[in-house]
């Protein structure tokens, strides 16, 4: 099993918790309590890997954070050592994309990891498909930004579930692809070490240095 840390960031009430709940519990509540501090959830998925016969099992350790601006000072505690970040905005709120951009910038500046997968997600797609189109952010605009910044991008609806699973699956696949060599190398080593029945966790880590300052 592979374990990855994933953090959700974005403006208040864009639907971060709703996305996580759709993914973890496959449920949706119209009114969800505002998240205080952060909530921790986990979910396991299976992905197909080319070279391997068996499916690869991936466990996501998910940190769902509070969206209010002032919680930003706590955010480094949550995104440090993260492997992936979901930066969420609300398709019906122009401002929320501005906030999303600033999160992307912060992640790029503070997380010194080139392998960090950032996924830009526009939520509330269901509201943009009715007769009264509430859309305030064009797909093309967000897409262009994501390409420019080299982010993954999609639009989803936590309410209907549209696109949510796919987000996590593609993160899983991307992380697996970038860690594949390490994983295989480690597996071989593990086979060699079986006598000790122990895994040298530190061995595969590039450095003991911590790249982010924690809470400031």
């Amino acid at each position: 099993m592979l374990q990855f840390k994933l953090v959700l960031l974005g403006d208040s009430s864009v639907g971060k918790s709703s996305i996580v709940h759709r993914f973890v519990k496959d449920s949706f509540d119209e009114l969800r309590e505002s998240t205080i501090g952060a909530a921790f959830l986990s979910q396991t998925i299976k992905i197909k890997a080319e070279e391997q016969e068996e499916d690869v099992v991936i466990k996501f350790e998910i940190w769902d954070t509070a969206g209010q601006e002032r919680y930003k000072s706590l955010a480094p505690m949550y995104y440090r050592n993260a492997n992936a970040a979901l930066v969420v905005y609300d398709l019906t709120q122009k401002d929320s994309l501005v906030k999303a951009r600033s999160w992307v910038e912060e992640l790029k500046n503070k997380v010194g990891d080139e392998d960090l997968v950032i996924f830009l997600v526009g939520n509330k797609l269901d509201l943009c498909e009715g007769e009264e189109d509430l859309r305030a952010v064009d797909t093309s605009e967000a897409k262009a930004y994501a390409e420019e910044q080299n982010l993954l991008f999609t639009e989803v609806s936590a309410k209907t579930g549209q696109g949510v699973k796919e987000v996590f699956r593609s993160i899983g696949e991307k992380l697996y692809a970038s860690k594949k060599d390490e994983i295989l190398a480690k597996k071989n080593r593990e086979l060699g070490n079986r006598v000790n029945n122990s895994v040298d966790i530190n061995a595969q880590r590039p450095s003991t240095n911590d790249t982010t300052t924690c809470c400031s």
């Binding site: 208040s12 505002s34 952060a38 921790f40 010194g112 895994v199 590039p206």
Partner: protein
């Protein structure tokens, strides 16, 4: 049922009674246990502008709703039992054998029909009104949904069957206590309580009667003093609030307002008092009150403004107190009990987490050993700035206390305990018991309860201990370092985060299962053997100061180091970086010395011996007796 004259004793004492019509303006009564019968909001309510209008007089409608639901055993409110004036009855009741919920409901019905005249009136009137009984079956006496992710409705009901009897017994004792002290219990809403004593502390810890809570909190938190010093302030604030909220275009001048708006419907969406009955309905009165309280607060205290989590604190207050008093209690909570916690920079959260970690280290060393950051010795010794033996010593101290600055991962979970004052963390009845004690004993109780929760979860935590040092799961918790690393020997190696995942899971879900408040109180809070029960307010105040100053020093230190790093990097391109680094580290000595000047925090321990001796003496005595008897 009692309760009719609702502008009287309570409101008079609340607002001083006789000045400029204050009384009527803020008599927005909350729908909590005590206030339901003094109710004023209902479907006919047209109360909207608080600074202008008075109280709608529709309490009868609500009374009807209540008694109707009681008649059918809807929400099993213990108040009905209390309303029986026969002081014997609660005891009688508790000795009677009650086999199940149905019997209990029957009892409620019996007691209802025995109770005072107007109650019978209510019952009679109730027949004319139909409400959704099924809906009430699923909610508790405050309107919260009984069921949660971790507690089924059946579990709730079977627990409540016992706990409601406990509440009746406790209320009976409270009544005796007040009567003995010559304090009136008129209309089942006492507004004065005995002066502080060990006995009263025990009473509070065993729970304040739900119907008295609002008044008792107000009394113990000295709310009236605060209000008296600020008479008319809320009034003035509301005028401003009205102006602001009526202005449709805020031009982003007041961003707090926007965030408040977004949170209003996300405050207790599971509580019937915060819900619209149907989508077409106007928003509930409590939501309107909540908006006014939060917006008024953000105007009153711009240093805090609005912080998510205050919506829950204010919301809970509104269930027990009228709007104006809820406002002042919010002021008191955010300044006295949780200082700085809701400030714009949230530094108070970090300070309190630092204090909590110090306490865990001191009082729960077992737990500390596996939530503490794993000190990375390699990182420390590799540090190129350790140039002299003194600075090495300094560094070791800094690293020792580094967890106050670089908080352990567990605080990712425990931070919200303080921010929302345990709302949503513990089940509601348990939360209320914590609030009882917080208002009586001040903020150190929040640390006590946190330590109690951790203590209770110890077994669960220990079970996962083995995972902590790598259990075969491949985790990619850590990332490659970059050159701007400023870590003081990275104390939080990713290896420690493998098992942390289990720890997070436990710490987050465990408190949510603590349905029975007495599980915490009887098993931990009332047990002398737990040394953290000696924690007092002085200690916590001292601790907060210490952590605060440590954090400031570290921040200063790290800023200095960062500046040096930048210079070092600049120079390193010319291959003199190393040299430069050594040079600057000498200059840095002062900063390090400053950090050294504060000793490691020392907890008061003088009482330990006394307590220990006492319990030992008692044990020796017991053993002697036993031996005597056997002989």
């Amino acid at each position: 049922m009692v309760a009719t004259d609702f502008t009287s004793p309570l409101m008079r004492t609340t607002t001083g009674g006789n000045h400029h019509g204050f009384t009527s303006k803020f008599s927005i009564r909350s729908p909590s246990v005590p206030n339901l019968r003094q109710q004023l909001y209902s479907e006919t309510n047209n109360y909207s502008a608080p600074a202008i209008e008075g109280i709608p007089n529709n309490k009868d409608a609500i009374n009807d709703q209540r008694s109707n639901s009681e008649e059918y055993g809807g929400s099993l409110s213990v108040i009905d039992l209390y309303d029986d004036n026969d002081s014997e009855s609660p005891q009688k009741k508790s000795t009677r054998s009650i086999t199940g919920l149905e019997d209990f409901q029957k009892d409620v019905g019996e007691l209802n029909s025995m109770s005072a005249d107007h109650s019978n009136d209510d019952l009679r009137r109730s027949n004319s009104i139909t409400i959704d009984i099924n809906e009430n079956e699923h909610t508790d006496r405050y309107g919260f949904k009984k069921q949660s992710t971790f507690i089924s409705e059946a579990d709730y009901n079977s627990w409540w069957n016992d706990y409601s009897k406990y509440c009746v017994r406790r209320k009976f004792k409270w009544k005796l206590l007040l009567e003995k002290g010559g304090l009136p219990v008129d209309n089942d809403s006492p507004t004065r309580f005995p002066s502080k004593s060990e006995k009263l502390k025990r009473y509070v810890r065993k729970g304040i009667p739900a119907e008295w809570r609002g008044d008792a909190w107000w009394y113990f938190a000295r709310g009236q003093e605060k209000l008296n010093r600020h008479k008319g302030v809320y009034d003035t604030l509301l005028v401003k609030v009205n102006k602001i909220t009526e202005q449709k275009d805020h031009d982003n001048v007041f961003t707090d307002l926007e965030i408040i708006e977004r949170d209003l419907n996300r405050t207790f969406p599971d509580n019937i008092h915060f819900q619209k009955q149907s989508p077409q309905d106007e928003e509930p009165e409590l939501i309107k009150s909540l908006r006014r309280v939060l917006v008024a607060f953000s105007l009153y205290n711009p240093k805090i403004g609005y912080c998510q989590s205050m919506n829950f604190i204010a919301g809970l207050l509104l269930l027990f107190l009228d709007e104006e008093r809820a406002f002042w209690m919010l002021v008191i909570i955010t300044s006295r009990y949780l200082p700085g916690v809701h400030d714009v920079n949230l530094e108070g959260v970090n300070i309190d987490q630092g204090v909590l970690m110090l306490c865990v280290k001191e009082y729960l060393p077992e737990i500390w050993s596996y939530i503490a950051p794993i000190t990375n010795k390699k990182g420390a010794s590799n540090n190129r700035r350790t140039t002299s033996s003194t600075s090495r010593k300094n560094r070791s101290l800094i690293i020792k206390n580094e967890f106050l600055y670089r908080l352990p991962p567990i605080t990712l979970c425990t931070a919200s305990w303080f921010m929302s004052c345990f709302i949503g963390i513990l089940p509601i009845e348990t939360t209320l018991r914590v609030w009882d004690c917080m208002f009586y004993e001040e903020s150190h109780f929040l640390f006590k309860i946190s330590l109690s929760i951790l203590k209770l979860s110890e077994n669960d935590l220990l079970r996962h201990k083995k995972h902590r040092h790598g259990g075969g799961i491949l985790s990619y918790g850590i990332k490659g370092g970059n050159s701007s690393n400023t870590s003081l020997g990275s104390s939080n190696d990713a290896a420690s985060e493998d098992g942390d995942m289990e720890i997070f899971q436990i710490i987050q879900t465990f408190p949510k299962k603590l349905l029975n408040p007495n599980d915490i109180f009887d098993k931990v809070i009332f047990k002398r053997k737990y040394s953290f029960n000696r924690l007092d307010q002085d200690e916590v105040d001292r601790c907060r100061k210490y952590v605060s100053s440590q954090r400031t020093k570290y921040k200063h230190y790290i800023d200095t180091v960062e500046k040096q790093e930048i210079r070092g990097i600049d120079k390193s391109t010319n291959h003199i970086g190393e040299k430069e680094n050594i040079l600057t580290s000498e200059m840095d000595e002062d900063t390090i010395n400053e950090a050294l000047s504060s000793e490691v925090y020392g907890f008061k321990r003088n009482l330990t011996g006394v307590h220990w001796n006492n319990s030992l003496k008692a044990k020796v005595r017991q053993m002697k007796k036993k031996i005597d008897r056997e002989v």
